[in-house]
Symmetry: C2
Subunit: 301 residues, 2 copies
């Protein structure tokens, strides 16, 4: 952690202020509201890449006062996961936010997000039981819990999430509907490298060889999409994805690689109109996820 | 249910308007805010008695725009409990609110509180594991879930709860701290009948004989308080309460009758400064709860 991240002083002198406490973020947001701004929010764990910046750009296009939170949330990491090694390049992130025209960085302390004695949790339901759910115990509860808190602290009019985390986006939308948050959830498209690899902060973990092998997931998803678009059933598309990812060099593990109904993450049925092709794989020690949304052709037989 | 409760029309003509939907309640609250009012909130399940009215009075004394919600929340009733028979005298409640100077009644539809497909829950932690917790499975999760939703819908500056539901009040305070709701939780004293029986909507269930027998809980709690104030330890006070409640006529069942640390509901220790004497009993088919807070004398040996 660098010194900027450790300071508890509200950096009002900077071109881009950093709020650390509830009082600080609420004061800045209230001032922006008093000036007639709507509030746009982009929650992140930092290690910002072009995918995050595209969320910020979306918020800027709406003429919002844009708040970006940077907080590596411990409760969404399982004990065996990469919490301690997760990248925290705060100075770089702050500069990227400033360059992107962000109005306020919210880098809360652990004490803000998890007050002493904390024990309240926000629990998602069935949407969290499949895909990443079984492979990351507690992950989506951690996500819901921290996002609910961030929503209560920032009180935005809208918040931007990436389609790359498709299951997370669905769960957050469900939470907002269920808990009656007056917040519009905007899901922005996945950004990719020129060869198709989805942008991810975890790509930084990959060696050159792993980087090459990582592309197998996107290739498999693309083959599944092709299969669906040529009229095949979801089961066939899933088989095609598994065949494609197995050659020439399979990943070190496949957590899942599936074709599900994009609205509820359940098996595709006659009624399904949009399919989510989604996968999670391991390349070396790195876990990567990706997905594609496919609107089914209207006339299937 | 009476016809007033069934209408979905926003009753703007009435002396006291009734909001039924998120849009209606948010519009009214926003109008009040625009006029410079702070917002006070009293969440209830209706069947209003003088205890509820004392919460409303408290909010009025703060010069707030007072919103009272009336909603019998299904998720806080266990399957075997009295959800279907719980009293719903909406017209009476509305009149009482009007007479008390309430500014807005929020009587949400089930679809507002539990949208189709709803599956998100707010889970309390250790505070919910003792006292009523084991006897009412899911109760406090239901309470937290509905109160979080009401808070998101009403967005009050402060909300009033009764000390009568001591465990609920502690859990809601904990939730507000943990989830960072910008809402002050005000806990108002228990109101009692002249003989000491705590006011409760469930008292209406009691026959004349049961009403007489119901007083045993308050008598036991009072004896426990006396014991503590004369310097006895919490264990002794608990024994005194059990001895007192057993005669002359014990209740039909005792769910619990305990002396715990008032801050965490755990066993009283050397460090405890305030004790919660709390009990839950059954009189016939009616479950009654009550409690007393006792500040321990400063010099104990």
């Amino acid at each position: 952690m660098n010194s900027m991240h450790e300071t508890t002083e509200f950096d009002l002198q900077s071109r881009l202020p950093v709020a650390r406490t509830p009082e600080q973020v609420r004061k800045k947001v209230a001032e922006a509201r008093a000036k007639g701004h709507i509030i746009g929010f982009v929650p992140t764990m930092g290690a910002l890449h072009a995918g995050h910046l595209s969320l910020i750009e979306h918020a800027k296009r709406r003429d919002a006062f844009v708040v970006v939170s940077i907080y590596v949330n411990p409760t969404q990491f399982a004990p065996h996961e990469d919490l301690s090694s997760y990248p925290r390049p705060f100075a770089d992130d702050h500069r990227k936010c400033a360059d992107a025209g962000v109005d306020l960085v919210f880098a809360p302390t652990d004490e803000t997000m998890y007050p002493p004695g904390d024990e309240t949790r926000v629990q998602p339901g069935a949407l969290a039981t499949g895909l990443c759910g079984p492979h990351r115990p507690g992950h989506f509860e951690g996500v819901c819990t921290v996002v609910a808190r961030l929503f209560n602290l920032v009180a935005p009019d809208f918040a931007c999430f990436g389609q790359k985390d498709a299951q997370q986006a669905l769960i957050i939308k469900r939470m907002v509907t269920d808990l009656q948050y007056p917040i519009e959830i905007v899901v922005c498209p996945t950004l990719r490298e020129p060869d198709g690899l989805a942008l991810s902060s975890r790509n930084a973990y990959l060696s050159a060889d792993e980087r090459t092998r990582a592309l197998c997931l996107y290739r498999a998803l693309s083959a599944g999409r092709e299969s669906l678009l040529t009229g095949n059933a979801a089961e066939r598309a899933a088989t095609v994805m598994h065949e494609t990812i197995a050659q020439p060099a399979p990943p070190d593990a496949i957590d899942y690689l599936v074709a599900v109904d994009a609205t509820n993450l359940q098996p595709v049925t006659e009624a399904s109109r949009r399919v989510l092709l989604a996968g999670a794989i391991r390349i070396g020690k790195t876990r990567l996820i990706d997905n594609l949304l496919v609107d089914l052709p209207p006339q299937r037989t």
